[in-house]
Amino acid sequence: MLQSVSDFLVITKRQLLQMIRIPEVLIFATIQPAMFVLLFRYVFGGAIDSGVDGGYVQLLMPGIFVQTVAFTLAATAVGLAADMQKGLIDRFRSLPISRSAVVIGRTVGDTLQNVVTLVVMGLVGFLVGWRPSSGPVKIFLGFLFLLAFGYSMSWIGVLIGLSVREERVAQNLVFMTVFPLTFLSNAFAPTTGMPKILQYFAEWNPVSTMVAACRELFGTENIFGATANSWPSQNPILMSLIYMVLLVAIFAPISVRKYVRVSK
């Protein structure tokens, strides 16, 4: 057991080392969400009548945070597909290490990268007027929630990365799925403008429940959701927790199994 922990920590350390060896990757991974903050803040911020204290940026920040951590799925999938393609996964599989070490190490490593990204985004948000008002404990919980969500999304990425085995395919596949998922939600605009069927989807979309949960934890009224008064929009924190548990409970075992049997 102790051995498995040390195995996955070695893999996680590898990813942190990668950040140090090629800082450009982390810089770009951070610039992109920071740019999104600025674009949405100044492009939509003027057009959307938010009706909350402090303006649109209060609603926007939780949305952009959730979108960013949802993309952990992409980071994991692309990273693993690249390792797969280069034969690195084969080498890991020929080593006397626990069968889950590589994938756990990867998901933890990607989550740690999120810590850096979230800090930078939070600072940029603060500079353009984001003022969470719920007090330090809830703010901390909010970020913890975001990291947990990113972590659970990461497990879907493991399965995708090991299944497609090619970096570019992984990249296209996840962008095609994660982008719509983050936009068919209450992250950036009210869901009331959507066709009815999409509204229902948006209400149940884990991205929406996460955004609603974060708005609650950061102390902003979630006026972009709750159009249908559905259960998930009324209990966003609980619903998000359920989603996270479900994601890990379903994808972690499948992904580990996939890793054990994967063959190039």
């Binding site: 051995q3 040390s6 195995d7 070695v10 350390k13 590898r14 080392l17 990668q18 060896r21 090629i22 280069k86 034969g87 690195l88 084969d90 080498r91 890991f92 599989r93 020929s94 080593l95 006397p96 290490i97 049997r261 063959s263």
Partner: protein, 329 residues
């Protein structure tokens, strides 16, 4: 003692339509080198992947260092080293980072993994490049580091899957030197290659595989003998071909093969040098002065063609074009 035993390995893909391994069996004596020789798609890599616990065969059994590969893969992983066809390293990290990481994954402690990394970098002449990311390494350096990574715990059995594919001639010579050193150290090595001369140079014995089966095995010499003994070959002027052919036939006792294009007459002979002298005398008497004359032992290329019915290798990938240019005739 046999270090590697594979029995009747079968592995099919696409619901049985593609047979990667079709009842492959082989044995490697402890401390020796077996060269697994075959063209692309013959099943070399699949064999290595099964023996290195990466792939489960549909049927058959295998032991490595006396351990059942299918029943106790974890135990096998502790005693093997694997260096694949594509250098499997983290390109963004330095050589040092890679070796210490693999050291930790082999459960060396921090100090031991650093010490081992230092030793290996030194041994493979990579100390100067230790702090550079792998992506800046040449192909040969990558292969050496990849090999180093597979030697961290001094494996009992080492698998090298096409260790020199894609290397330029210089990289190949370096790699051969490194492998020679290893073999002197007494490791049991299973090496796959599509280069006949590589198997000839590095391996104690050779198993020729084609379409998932071993079709011949033995030492390089035994395989050559299997094709036939020596051949007498002479080259003469065009107008002397007929007469020379008659004389060669007289000595060899069989009808020689004549390639009129390059004016070459050749025939199998049983008692090489005696036949050579005899033919020379007859030619001299007939006032024929051969442009070239000699005894030729069959090359492994000849062996390969006679066994498989096709030329040793058809590689089309652009990336390895360099090696073809340098190695193929």
């Amino acid at each position: 003692m046999k270090s590697i035993i594979a029995q009747d390995l079968v592995k099919t893909y696409d619901k049985g339509t593609v047979k990667a391994l079709d009842g492959l069996s082989l044995e490697v004596e402890e401390g020796t080198v077996l060269g697994l020789l075959g063209p692309n798609g013959a099943g070399k890599t699949t064999t290595v992947r099964v023996l290195a616990t990466l792939l489960t065969p549909d049927s058959g059994s295998a032991t490595v260092a006396g351990i059942d590969v299918l029943k106790h893969p974890d135990e096998v992983r502790k005693v093997i080293g694997l260096s694949g066809q594509y250098a499997a390293l983290d390109e963004t990290l330095t050589g040092w980072d890679n070796l210490t990481m693999f050291g930790r994954l082999y459960h060396l402690n921090s100090a031991a993994s650093k010490k081992r990394a230092e030793e290996l970098l030194e041994k493979f002449s990579l100390t100067d490049a230790a702090k550079r990311p792998i992506r800046t390494y040449s192909g040969g350096m990558r292969r050496r580091l990849d090999l180093a990574a597979s030697l961290i715990v001094k494996p009992k059995v080492l698998f090298l899957d096409e260790p020199t594919t894609g290397l330029d001639p210089r990289g190949r010579m370096e790699m051969w030197g490194v492998i020679d050193e290893l073999v002197k150290g007494g490791v049991t090595l299973l090496l796959t290659t599509q280069y006949l001369e590589e198997a000839d140079h590095l391996a104690d014995s050779i198993a020729v595989i084609d379409t998932g089966k071993v079709i011949a095995r033995g030492t390089a010499d035994e395989l050559k003998n299997q094709v036939g003994g020596e051949r007498l070959e002479i080259t003469v002027e065009v107008d002397q071909i007929a007469e020379a052919t008659r004389l060669v036939e007289q000595v060899a006792g069989t009808t020689p093969t004549v390639d009129a294009g390059i004016r070459k007459i050749s025939a199998p002979v049983s008692n090489g040098s005696a036949s050579l002298i005899q033919v020379l005398r007859l030619l001299d008497d007939a006032k024929i002065h051969p442009l070239d004359i000699g005894l030729k032992r069959p090359s492994l290329d000849d062996v390969f063609i006679s066994l498989t019915g096709h030329v040793a290798e058809v590689v089309t990938e652009e990336v390895v074009g360099g090696k073809n240019a340098s190695k193929r005739k």
